[in-house]
Amino acid sequence: MPRQIRRAPRGVSLALACASCLSCAALANADLLLNEILYDPLGADEGQEFVELWNPDSTAASLDGVVLEAGDGARPGSWTLVWRGAAGNAAAPGAAFLIAGDALLAALQNGPDAVRIVRNGAVLDLLGYGDLESATLYKGAPAPDAGSGQSLARLRDGVDTGVNRDDWAVEGELTPGAANHPDVRLRISGSGPSATPEVSWPGETVELRASVRNSGRLPIGGGRWTAVAELRDAADGAWASVGSTPGGSVMPAESATVALSFPAPAPGSHSGRVRTCDSGPPPSAAPGELPLADTAAVWLRVIAGPAVVNEIAFRDAGAGEWIELWFRDRVEDVGEFSIADAVSPPHPIDRGALPRASGAGSLLVVAKDPALVRAAFGLADSVVVGVIGGWPSFNDSESGGAPADRVRVLEAGGAPCDAVPYRAESSVRGGSLERLSIDLPSDAAGTWAESVDPRRGTPGRENSMRAPGPMAAAHGPLLTASARVLRRHGGVAVPVILRATAAARGRRLTVRVHDLLGRPLRTLVEGQRFVAEGAFLWDGRDDRGVAVPAGLYVIRAEALPEEGEEARASSVPLAVAAERAR
């Protein structure tokens, strides 16, 4: 493969050099070419920008006296020195030479702008990008402007037609210091693998999914490569394979998706990676060259924590968007955590000037507009905080079958602490989504229910919806309740969810509410058969529809006797609180 690259440009370059001379008289011998440039990296530019040169010749090219200059698109003729080749610098034959990091003396400007390489006053190559007007800033026609995180890359390494627009393309997959399009190259896409669920629970299956692109010029046959999922052992740092799959055939410039599934590992945070490799020895690769090998890292967490998403207000019900975090363990500084949605970068929690601790079991509300949430819900300043760098606006509508968005809490290093995908249809009244139990999986739809609080949310206080405890075994109680206390606010009761357990499955049930003297007040279920575990509500009213007074009550479930089944009963206590003013 390298031979092809070396051989072809030599003949072509002469023809192209002629063509170049027609379009740009200032160009001299095209022995060195610009091959790839990144001028707008993701995040901060400093240290991330690079320019890649290419030596198409069969002998090494000295870079002594070669300079790289940046041209200002707004001021044609104004060139800034970006790099100067030293005596020891040389570009290997048929290979790239990378100029990056501290070697760059000045920043590369986002388009429309230009760069050129010059030796002894002669321009060796020129690249103009963006909407340039001055013809002195490009060859033939300017190349397109690359977006943030994308590079401009020569379509064929070392081949120049003299027209920037034809030779260059925006490239999402950066290849600094390497050929842009060798014969064979398999790369995991820049966004890296994704874990589903991002935060899993013991017993769940984790799937790592990655997009693998053939950025080479030749097809890659099925079975020639393998994708492997690996987890790092926390004790000795060694990587252990947890799953692998043979790769399929991938045509040039096309991608294939690999999915690797494995049981959720032990609770905690895990460093993982997806790796592609040759299924067998590479047939014709040069020593040390592994064109099918690539690696991309991914973080995994099993069981959310220490900051757990406990409530999500993704609809603006008058107080803006907010989420509520519940701390499983004490944290010394909440500012170490960031909030993000499915696509946004992390936004650190604004903890103020000093580190701010949060105790185990405490709640913290993180809001787009903290003052608005404080005012709407009567919360103390210390309970509600904002984020730094703008709020990651949560979607409240879905596209296709995917969840509307995902609320993510990230630790300082970017590892997930909790991640909750949600669907817009989960909130019908515009209320927040409340976590029914801290012990339920974050990504399960059944873990979340719309708040029944009259204010459409309970930031900074106990959720209005809570799940009963773990499902009972067949010999356990017939019934569990979502709360011990039924509350009323402004005449509106927060219903208690009563759940018929596995022990009630297949049985005919009668469920009544009694007072402590045993007097029946309300029949909730009258002999219905529960073919599965089911749930129903008590709204705090008796059979006449009258709200029962405050006090203690007993909800009694009786499984009626049937053929082969004995009658059995179980009861749960429930308190009804006095009416509380709105």
Partner: protein, 289 residues
């Protein structure tokens, strides 16, 4: 009734008049009340109350003191309610009983962790040996729920009891105005008055009673209670009630001044309440009234 001998003592006619007046007023108050169904309805789940299927009323002691000397009655009970783990009533009482009357104090707590109803009750009662006896009581009632402000208040009520003798049969008629006066805190909790009534026939140490409790919504809860001595040192109390249908039994055994008792209520829908108590009786207590 013409052959009945009314054994009213000095001032008895005044007490009869007062009792009748109080009963009339309080009956009226009771009829205006809201339904009897709220917190603090379960007052006494001691064995004596379970045997009488009357957890909604203060129980009559199974061993009464009618002797001339003053004595102290003290005891405590525990009841498990409806076979729900943690749902129980704890109750303790102390009283001084004398020839002219008694002063008693009882406190109880019912509920589960995080949700409790508690009460403290002070009662001043004239001796039952009199033809007409009055009782006044004051209660402090509190409802405490996790995450909610404590709610509660004061309630006051009274009893009137007339006692007649007909040959070897003693007849007692009780009319009460229960929680007829309440502070605002209890009104907020919908605590309402009621009118318990009872007719008891006593003879030879055995008692048969018809007891009812009338609520403001016309709700009634009639019950029949039978009580009999067993070998002088034990007493058995049996009860049957309606709304809800239930039966109850209690057995109390006296060993010198120590009383040990156990009781149980079974409701028609399967609800079960069991209780046990231990107490110290007044020195003059006897198994036969």
């Amino acid at each position: 009734m013409t052959r009945a001998s009314l054994r009213a003592g000095c001032g008895g006619s005044l007490r009869v008049l007062a009792a009748a007046l109080v009963a009339t007023v309080l009956l009226g108050a009771g009829l205006r009340a809201s339904p009897v169904m709220a917190a603090f309805e379960l007052r006494d789940a001691s064995p004596a109350a379970l045997g009488a299927v009357s957890m909604d009323l203060e129980s009559e002691p199974m061993f009464d003191a009618i002797g001339p000397r003053a004595g102290i009655r003290v005891g405590a009970s525990h009841a498990a309610l409806y076979q729900i783990e943690g749902l129980a009533q704890e109750r303790a009482w102390i009283g001084v009983e004398g020839r002219r009357g008694s002063l008693s104090f009882a406190c109880s707590r019912v509920g589960v962790e995080g949700a409790t109803e508690s009460s403290a009750r002070l009662a001043l009662r004239e001796s039952r040996a009199q033809a007409v006896a009055l009782e006044l009581d004051a209660e402090r009632l509190d409802l405490a729920l996790d995450g909610e402000p404590r709610e509660g208040g004061w309630a006051f009520g009274g009893w009137a009891r007339a006692r007649f003798s007909l040959s070897r049969l003693d007849i007692e008629v009780d009319v009460a105005a229960d929680r007829v006066l309440r502070s605002n805190g209890l009104a907020r909790l919908s605590v309402s008055p009621s009118v318990p009534v009872a007719i008891r026939l006593r003879s030879g140490g055995a008692t048969a009673a018809w007891v009812d409790r009338w609520g403001g919504d016309g709700r009634r809860s009639p019950r029949i209670v039978l009580e009999m001595p067993i070998a002088g040192a034990a007493r058995l109390r049996l009860g049957r009630g309606e709304a809800p249908e239930r039966i109850g039994a209690a057995l109390a055994v006296r060993l010198r001044r120590i009383e040990v008792s156990a009781g149980r209520i079974d409701q028609s829908d399967g609800g079960v309440v069991t209780g046990a108590s231990v107490g110290l009786l007044p020195a003059s207590s006897g198994g036969i009234r």
